[in-house]
Amino acid sequence: MSTSLDKIIGPRAPEEQQAEDHLRYRLPTIFFLVAVVLLIASVFLPYWQMTLQAPQYPKGLSVQAYIYKLTGDVREIDGLNHYIGMRPLAEAAQLERSLSIVAVSTLSLLIVAAIFIHTKYTVLLALPAILYPFIFLGDMYFWLRNFGLNLDPAAPLSSAIKPFIPPLLGVGKLAQFVTITEVKSGFYLASIASVCIIIGLYFHRRAYKPLVDSQIEAENQAEDEFEQEQ
């Protein structure tokens, strides 16, 4: 008889089967672990970058968004932004940045947990990490929109620069500035982690679906026999 916890955790592969085809059972673990490593590594890399180009800034100005901090010419860009009445960049996504490390740690732990779960619930555990890059972009868009549309009407250039939505990705133009926004290495790592998880789920299904099916079959059979006996 299986308890409800067993139903969530799912069956273990018999040892003789593992010895016979160890790759079959290790592949999901490998892909999930690679995803975890990539996710953690991504924390130390910038996810998104905005570059401003203007004649008086021959080296350009850039700001890099890590999940927990902003680096680069933030001060100078803030200084310029005050002319159009945009709030300082540090005011954006404060909650997200403060929770980001905890969030990525949680995603990573869920993936690790997913390794030990051999049922369809694995998908539930893996889903947040799969969606994570899209959530990042969505949040970034939310803040760009929020900042761009809420300009201080009393700013010096308020009559020249109307509220606008800065492009999330791509090239824009604002006064003498060309703005280039792009995702960077941290985002790529997080995206590759998503792909790894999806691939891992495929191998996971390949490895454990038969075991789950046979377990259900065995249970059904046992039930049938029980009924028949009665």
Partner: protein
């Protein structure tokens, strides 16, 4: 193994490889490729343009060698004395574009040098002479700091001939940090020169006078008047001359002129030339020969040879006398301790320059057509041999023939010598006027095709050359390439701008051997009469783009206790004392209203909180004679008594942004 098994094993590894590749691609970023510039054939139009402007092929060649298109950085930087402007000129080469006029002895409004800012007022105050402001200087000889005899691009020093002062300029921000007044001399000439590791700065005197600003009749010239050389100890750590560790040496009342520190083989020795060993005292109005004749009677004057290492020991041992509270090694001590020797030098010389390896001292007697080269080795042998004649003061004189290596006849009025990397020496000829190229011998003999110790060629200059400066031409490893002739007269070289004419810096190409030494370019100097210049490879200079931290004090080169960050701006009042803590950023000062009362004593601190390259703000307070330049990161402070009531608009005096005119505030002084 069947195909299915194979796939099963290969697939994971293939996937891993793809992922690895993606990671590398994601982390690697885009590597730029640099393209070699293509040489573009010159179109026929160039000839038409040259013909229309009356340019010869040589002119076009010179133009191509010097023209510096926008954005191209000069290969060399020349630090030139600003003459009686009292400033230091910074000039890019070969473009000969003026990059900066560094405020030194004279107030300079653009840099806010001497118009309120405390760090500038304090330095100018150090330059007071007998308690009085002297707000100009006759700057003569800049000296770049050296490490092992090479320019290191960290400091530059310059003297004020008129008032015997030395200034220290920090090349991290190109600002003057210290002025030292020589307490024993009214004026000087033979400064500044540095020892090979810049431990000492040499300041030679000029017109003899009683040491320590005393009175003595000219009747007592020989007994009471004295020459001197002062050795200033420089400390790199603090960036200051250490007054307490410095000392001078008493010399006979000959007019010491220029000095140079020995290097490499002659390290530890100092050489100075002198004139007026006749000890003429002038008085043309009383029927005496004028100085110009009286001081030019003898065929030989004396090169001073100073055992400097030993002089330091003697000074440290306390064998000094205090003159105006400054330690001076008495002449007799210098004689007794073997610190000072003379070698005859022809005639009324104006320069002693040490060859790159330190083996030779080159002297030009300006009334003798030769450059005379002395061998350091021979000087040492002669000192060793002993048995000297002495002058009237008992100073040993080495025999001319014992110490001279060679004499080369270069032309009329030879003055100053610089060196190239290829065994060539260059000497300015004031009277011809020209720059002579001649060859050194000895270890330099094989560096070029020309015979040693001979004149190679001359390039005529316009006009009346004084000093010359070759690229790193007085270091242990001269660069050659360029030489600048610092001409005193311009006459017809530029459009007449009235009877006071600019000086003329002429750039000469010394990059080719033999007789090829063409003139390239003229640069007028309409600010004073520069004397000497030094030329450093531009990439050795690594000044700050902005001050290292917000709230930086350029005087101490450290964070300023009155630094004010954004959000900390305030006005504090304590009785009649008002302290203002202000920030400046494009395009506003905070606060914009300052309300005080007549009679208040105001101390005002402004921090430029910008971090952008070139985002300097000025602060002008008309009515109170305040003008301050606040570079990015700098905290500037000034104070004044609010003596006049009224309304004063303070404003940014450096065009900083599109809303620069709006960068303004009101100071309201209530009666």
């Amino acid at each position: 193994m069947n195909l299915r098994d194979l796939k099963k094993y290969i697939l994971p590894f293939t996937l891993m490889a793809i992922i690895g590749f993606l990671i590398i691609a994601a982390c690697g970023g885009a590597g730029g490729t640099t393209e070699a510039p293509e040489s573009v054939p010159v179109s026929g139009d160039i000839n038409e343009i040259a013909a229309a402007r009356g340019l010869t092929p040589a002119d076009v060649e010179a133009a191509v060698k010097t023209y510096t298109p926008t954005g191209m950085i000069d290969e060399y930087v020349m630090f030139s004395s600003g003459g009686h402007s009292g400033q230091l000129l910074v000039i890019g080469m070969p473009s000969m574009r003026l990059l900066k006029v560094v405020g030194v002895f004279t107030p300079e409004p653009w840099q806010g040098w001497g118009y309120g800012a405390k760090t500038t007022m304090e330095v100018l105050d150090e330059g007071k002479v007998d308690g009085e402001d002297v707000l100009w200087g006759d700057t003569h000889h800049p000296a770049l700091s050296e490490t092992e005899g090479e320019y290191d691009g960290e400091w530059v020093f310059i003297n004020d001939k008129a008032n015997a002062r030395i200034a220290v300029i920090d090349l991290r921000d190109f600002e003057t940090k210290q002025i030292v007044k020589n307490p024993i001399a009214v004026n000087d000439h033979g400064g500044t020169m540095v020892t090979p590791d810049t431990e000492w700065i040499i300041e030679g005197g000029q017109y003899a006078a009683p040491l320590g600003w005393e009175y003595a009749s000219l009747e007592d010239y020989e007994s009471e008047y004295r020459g001197m050389v002062t050795f200033w100890k420089f400390d790199r750590e603090s960036g200051r001359i250490q007054y307490d560790q410095s000392f001078a040496m008493e010399l006979p009342p000959y007019w010491q002129d220029l000095c140079d520190a020995g290097k490499l083989v002659s390290d530890g020795w100092v050489f100075c030339n002198s004139f007026n060993t006749e000890m003429a005292t002038g008085g043309v109005e009383s029927g005496n020969p004028p100085f110009e004749a009286g001081a030019s009677q003898r065929d030989m004057d004396y090169m001073h040879i100073i055992n400097f290492d030993k002089a330091i020991e003697v000074a440290n041992a306390g064998q000094t006398e205090m003159v105006a509270d400054f330690p001076v090694i008495p002449m007799q001590t210098a004689i007794d301790e073997g610190l000072l020797y003379f070698a005859p030098e022809p005639k009324s010389p104006h320069g002693v320059d040490i060859s790159p390896g330190g083996e030779y001292m080159v002297v030009s007697g300006k009334l003798d057509p030769h450059v005379t080269t002395y061998s350091f080795e021979k000087v040492q042998a002669a000192i060793e041999a002993g048995g000297f004649e002495t002058d009237d003061y008992g100073i040993p004189i080495l025999a001319f023939d014992d110490v001279v290596e060679s004499q080369v006849e270069v032309g009329l009025g030879p003055l100053h010598t610089q060196f190239g990397p290829d065994g060539y020496a260059y000497t300015s000829l004031f009277l011809e006027p020209a720059v002579a190229r001649w060859t050194l011998g000895g270890p330099y003999e094989d560096l070029n095709e020309d015979p040693p110790w001979s004149l190679v060629t001359k390039t005529f200059v316009h006009y009346n050359v004084g000093h010359i400066a070759a690229a790193e031409g007085d270091t242990v490893s001269p660069d050659g390439k360029y030489l600048v002739s610092l001409n005193k007269w311009a006459i017809d070289r530029f459009k007449n701008v009235g009877p006071l004419l600019p000086q003329n810096f002429q750039l000469i190409d010394i990059g080719q051997p033999g007789t090829t030494m063409p003139l390239l370019y003229d640069m007028p100097i309409g600010i004073g009469e520069p004397h000497y210049a030094q030329i450093i490879k531009a990439d050795k200079l690594e000044p700050w783009e902005v001050y290292p931290e917000i709230g930086w004090n350029p005087g101490t080169q450290s964070p300023d206790p009155n630094a004010t960050m954004t959000g900390e701006e305030r006005i504090e009042r304590d009785g009649n004392n008002v302290d203002i803590y202000m920030t400046a950023v494009r395009s506003h000062f905070t606060p914009e209203h300052v309300e005080i009362k007549q009679g208040d004593h105001v101390t005002w601190h402004i921090t430029n909180v910008e971090r952008a390259y070139d985002a300097t703000h000025g602060f002008s307070l008309p009515g109170y004679n305040i003008n301050v330049s606040i570079e990015p990161g700098e905290t500037a402070s000034f104070e004044f008594d609010a003596t006049h009531d009224g309304v004063f608009s303070y404003y940014c005096s450096e065009f900083c942004s599109a809303l620069h005119l709006e960068m303004v505030g009101y100071m309201l002084v209530e009666p």
